[in-house]
Amino acid sequence: MIKLLRSFNKKDYFLILICFILIIFQVFLELKMPDYMSEITKLVQTDGASMNDILTQGAYMLLCAFGSLVSAIIVGYFVSNIAATFSMNTRKKLFNKVESLGMEEIKRFRTSSLITRTTNDITQVQMFIAMGLQLLIKSPITAVWAVTKILNKNIDWSILTAIAVIVLLATIIILMLIVMPRFKIVQKLIDNINDVTRENLNGIRVVRAFNAEEYQENKFESVNTKLTSMQLFNQRAFCVLQPIMYLVMYFLTLAIYFIGAILIKDALMIDKITLFGDMIVFSSYAMQVIMSFLMLAMIFMMLPRANVSAKRINEVLDTKLSIIDGNLTKGIDNIKGEVEFKNVSFKYPDAEEYLLQNISFKASKGETVAFIGSTGSGKSTLINLIPRFYDVTDGEILVDGVNVKEYKEEVLHNKIGYVSQKAVMFNGTVESNIKYGENGKEITDEKMKEAIEVAQAEEFVLKMDKQYDSHIAQGGSNISGGQKQRLSIARAIARDPEIYIFDDSFSALDYKTDATLRKKLKKYTKDATILIVAQRIGTIMNADKIIVLDNGICVGMGTHKELLQNCEVYKEIALSQLSKEELENE
């Protein structure tokens, strides 16, 4: 938490300082008020006190109240500014950091967790700053100041107040100790309830096909009962808090009055009036003391939650970047579209096993190189090493004759047309999605249309209500998986890259579209190098070079025909997809 707050700059500190001073002023005024109150009380008590005196005291008190209001408004203004600025800056910092993270780190954090860190966690901390900052400064000052004001007044009353504070704090602490661990359980049970419901919703067809409605309902009911009883326990425990709080406060006032009565009774006449005034003042200061202790307790209840969020934010901010940008702006002059792997190995930093081991190959300009292998064989990882989503552990990757680590990332990415496994669409239009990003040159409308046509997307884009201007919802939720994939392919084509990378990007297309698309693409991108990861033999059969991966090791390299002859793994894959006759027909 404190670490995060270090991001405050000089201006913030200055504002906090002003707030600090203003809050002291405010506390001063607020604590001054009971004095005037008692003065007014005294005056009202006295027969024949002049109305003018009361008015003056009243005016002073109102002045105090107004001053404290004004200062509270100013403090509120500053604090809301500080909190909002803080959240804006931290969010920006976090966003930038996440943008520069490598895929490996992102995988480690999980995307969904990064999202909550950037949104909810920051809001959490901001709320804490907005509320906590004021309270944190104000309540200790009020408590201490109020205590000093009443400390010398009367020992009996002081002891009473101390007891009240202790009772209250003890109640809160005991309550927290009982409830806090159960809060975590409640959170978990809520997750469970979500899980069971989601399970039922996702598997609704299965549930019905198995006539398992009752089974699901029973399952839900058992979680539901657990959740309800746990929540009931917690909330019942909290029911105690409010009555106890009120009792303590009321009893304190009553006790102060009662003891006051005895004291006044036994006092000399000369002390009586002072005692009476003191009694009224004391009871109001005692309330202030109790209130400020309650506030402090509240901060400490809020703190753990904000702290967890702060920790989560810091975790991301403190992550060391594993991928450091190079500074080369271009490759070797007369080499274009060349990708070479030299003894490349890769493993995750903490992993024991290599994901890829000793991979070497070269893809020259205009060649198509395909990668195939079972899930987990490392083909996707391999292809993601080229745009430096991960960095190799050993060996090197050359693009246009230069190690990818030496390129400025932007330059490297401009050479590449990358199509991800999961088609990514952004909120916007078809056009904004196709023309997405920067690659040093502008993508013309003609280019865009051409790309869409090559990607076999024209047919459905033209059918959409505004064609190229049609709206694409966030995540492309308003178009189908196959359509998304085709548009993301078009996006790569529109950039005219030297190197295409297709990371299993044809899976959602049916065989026919797949085949047509590849044919058109080949024709359109004569000179470009194409790297394809695929599951289907049909997709890659015609590649110039097929690399067969098994558990991160290259177990075969060659054309379809060659591999059928000499690579067991490839043959196995091929057989599972095509019948023998069909393969032999080739």
């Binding site: 909190a83 943008e99 309800t228 009553l254 079972s374 599951q535």
Partner: protein, 769 residues
């Protein structure tokens, strides 16, 4: 992710939630109607809340009584002072008094022996006699001025009232009287100088009176109250007893006892009330959740096509939670706040109407101002919610597509949008927070303003003896009781509004049209069904668009039907119709000659084994996942089937074997999940089979296992297979070719290839160069 979206839409946001219901009244009415079961508890709770509020209204009155009692302890008994003062005054000015002085002094001018005096003294004596003659009032003064020689002659020891009064005492007495210095009067004279008076049954002796006079002699009317009170301490005890303020400890004890009981009762009511409401809220929430869960299984599948599961999820958790929370807090708060508010107004007017008007007017001005601010901040909160939603959407989009953002150098673009949205959120954040932060200090100010106003008007009234001081104290509390509930009412109203919105969504879901109840008289016993399926002239559409027009086919027992077509061609439609997830528009589907319209859905489902592509496992053990809701399946049977499918070895490698917990996450691969669902299907020994064989994300070796398992599954059963493997398709007895939701071709492989239609094209595309 869908859940995340639902969360970011609302719920997880902080700060007040200003969601507006479509129809506030109707939603609340519905909510209360559903609360009927709990109405006794709610009624009791609300009564308790009201009683507790009323008690806290009485408390300040009693507290003011207490203050009054205590303040009795600091005001002197002015009546007695007056009585005493008047008594003394009267006595001093009376004839009796001067006669008594004369008698005490017993001055004998005629006994002066002139010859024993010096000539000076004679002259002085004569002058004095002359003065006395002219100015009888000051006789004593003139006498006291006489030289001792003369005094000794005219004043002698004498006896007054049986007591001897010495000469020197008399002389001191004279000089004291002359100098108005009562303190110096000799004690024996003090005792006899004045009459005793009895005030409040206490005898005030002459000496007491004289001391009283001597102490208060120099105090004038405008003297500082402290000086006066200081003097009082020096008074003789008997007088102190009469005029000193007295605290009636018995009264105070009685009031304190009453207050203690009152506070405890109020706290107890409050406690019982909140326990009751907590119970009701949680039990109601539980009931709502159960109802939603049951409802899910009663809705037609059509509903789920049009509604996101994230939305339904958020109804189960967020919405129900909102309702429970506001039931728990807002309802009682609202009732007790209103009671307090109305009650404090009544009490104020009952106590004193001028003060009441003062209190209400002085806070009203503040409140009008505050509500203006509040409504403005509400605007910014709504705006903030919207902006935050946009920003979160953007963040989600960029983070989940980060590799594309990077590969396309889209960072600048993303940053630009981010900065813009971030800035908007900042503005709304700043403003909404500032304005909502104003609430508390303003409340404080209004309270203080009211305090001063009440005090001033109160003081004015006190000085005119219209009210007592205690009433001011009571009003000081009233003004707090009066101002607090107003803001609480405002808060409760907003929370009620979001409750209404939440309950609107929950009840909207609960009132969604269910599948019609079935009362069918026909029943097919799964064990006796042969498995003939007949489609005749089936017509179907998800909406007005009929996508399956006139489909007829006859499938004999044990035959395989392959359903093929590109992605999104509507292959699952066939599943939906067979399982009666959807009702066909026209025509009929018959199983063993009985129309499925005459069978219950439950019966139909028991006839089919279904293994779908989206492998569905849930959090639970492997065994639970396999058995699911089948009953009477022995462990041996499970192991046998698992061995057959080839998944036994894998399960054994898990840490706890068949009792290992698996999740829908990534604890096991999708291929293994698929195998588990196949095992589940095989244990469900229904005569008909629906199978989706897509294995796109399964590695080759697992795929082979899966294929074998699937072949085993189809043995001897009438099967409908959403086919992806050519071997399945070629061996199928009937191929249904689907496109755009429609069955466009049907027949076996050879027939379709010969027709050279869409199927042939699809088939050949696999081998294109």
């Amino acid at each position: 992710m869908s859940n995340g979206k639902a969360n970011s839409r609302r719920g997880s946001m902080h700060g007040p939630n200003f969601e507006k219901p479509k129809d506030f009244k109707k939603s609340l009415k519905k909510l209360f109607k559903n609360l009927k079961v709990f109405k006794i508890f709610i009624f009791i709770a609300l009564i308790l809340a009201i009683s507790s509020s009323i008690l806290s209204l009485i408390a300040p009155n009693k507290l003011s009584d207490l203050t009054d009692e205590i303040s009795e302890g600091i005001t002197v008994n002015s009546k007695n002072i007056e009585i005493l003062t008047n008594d003394i005054k009267k006595e001093i000015s009376s004839e009796e008094y001067s006669e008594r002085i004369n008698k005490i002094l017993d001055i004998k001018f005629n006994e002066v022996n002139i010859y024993e005096m010096s000539s000076d003294n004679i002259q002085i004596f004569n002058e004095t006699l002359f003065k006395i003659k002219n100015d009888e009032k000051n006789t004593l003064k003139y006498i006291s001025d006489l030289p001792n020689e003369i005094l000794n002659q005219i004043i002698k020891d004498s006896i007054y009232d049986g007591k001897t009064i010495k000469q020197e005492d008399k002389i001191t007495f004279i000089s004291s009287l002359a100098n108005n210095d009562f303190n110096n009067i000799p004690d024996n004279i003090k005792d006899i100088l004045l009459n005793d008076t009895i005030i409040d049954n206490i005898k005030i002796t002459s000496k007491d009176k004289i001391e009283y006079m001597s102490i208060l002699k120099n105090v004038n009317k405008d003297a500082d109250i402290n000086t006066v009170y200081g003097k009082i301490d020096k008074l003789p005890n008997n007088i102190k007893k009469v005029i000193e303020p007295s605290i009636n400890m018995n009264n105070i004890k009685a009031i304190a006892k009453f207050l203690v009981i009152l506070y405890i009762c109020s706290a107890l009511f409050n406690f019982i009330q909140s326990i009751l409401m907590t119970n009701v809220a949680n039990k109601f929430a539980k009931k709502l959740r159960s109802r939603i869960s049951i409802k899910i299984n009663k809705l037609p599948l059509r509903y789920f096509d049009n509604n996101l599961s994230g939305d339904i999820l958020s109804r189960v958790t967020n919405d129900v939670d909102t309702i429970a929370q506001s039931m728990n807090q807002s309802l009682a708060t609202l009732v007790s706040s209103i009671t307090l508010f109305v009650g404090s107004i009544i009490m104020m007017f009952y106590t004193n109407w001028i003060m009441a008007v003062t209190a209400i007017l002085s806070s009203l001005i503040g409140f009008i101002f505050m509500f203006k601010v509040l409504s403005k901040s509400q605007k910014y909160f709504t705006a903030r919610q919207v902006e935050l939603g946009k920003l979160n959407g953007h963040i989600e989009e960029i983070y989940s597509g980060l590799n594309v953002v990077k590969a396309y150098n889209g960072k600048k673009e993303a940053d630009k949008t981010f900065d813009e949205l971030n800035k908007n959120v900042y503005e709304c954040n700043r403003k909404s927070q500032f304005l909502s932060g104003l609430m508390q200090p303003m409340m404080g100010f209004i309270g203080n303003f009211g305090y001063v106003a009440v005090c001033i008007v109160g003081a004015l009234l006190v000085s005119n003896d219209v009210i007592t001081f205690g009433i001011i104290v009571a009003f000081i509390t009233y003004i707090r009781l009066f101002t607090n509930p107003l803001s609480q009412i405002a808060q409760a109203m907003t929370s009620l509004q979001s409750t209404a919105a939440a309950s609107e969504r929950v009840f909207e879901f609960l009132e969604e049209k269910e599948m019609e109840e079935e009362q069918k008289n026909k029943y097919l016993n799964p064990e006796d069904v042969k498995g003939d399926v007949e489609f005749s002239h089936v017509k179907f559409g998800y909406n007005e668009d009929i996508i399956i027009k006139d489909f007829t086919a006859n499938i004999k027992r044990g035959e395989k039907v392959a359903i093929v077509g590109p992605t999104g061609a509507g292959k699952t439609t066939m599943v939906n119709l067979l399982m009666k997830f959807y009702n066909i528009n026209e025509g009929s589907i018959k199983i063993d000659g009985i129309s499925i319209n005459d069978l219950t859905r439950e019966n139909i489902h028991s006839l089919f084994t279904m293994v779908l592509q989206d492998t569905w496992v849930f959090n639970g053990t492997v065994k639970e996942n396999i058995i699911y809701n089948n009953k009477n399946i022995s462990d041996e049977e499970i192991i046998k089937v698992c061995k057959e499918v080839g998944v036994h070895h894998f399960i054994k490698t898990l840490p706890n074997g068949y009792n290992s917990i698996i999740t829908d996450g990534d604890s096991i691969s999708s291929g293994q999940k698929q195998l588990l669902t196949i095992v589940r299907g095989m244990l469900d020994k229904a005569p008909l089979l629906i199978l989706d064989e897509a294995t796109s994300n399964v590695d080759t070796r697992t795929e082979e296992l899966v294929s074998k398992a699937m072949d085993k599954l189809t043995e001897g059963r009438t099967s409908f297979i959403i086919a992806h493997r050519l071997s399945t398709i070629k061996n199928a007895d009937l191929i249904l070719v689907m496109k755009d939701g429609n069955i466009i071709e049907q027949g076996n492989h050879e027939k379709l290839i010969k027709e050279n239609g869409f199927y042939a094209e699809l088939y050949n595309s696999q081998f294109q160069k």
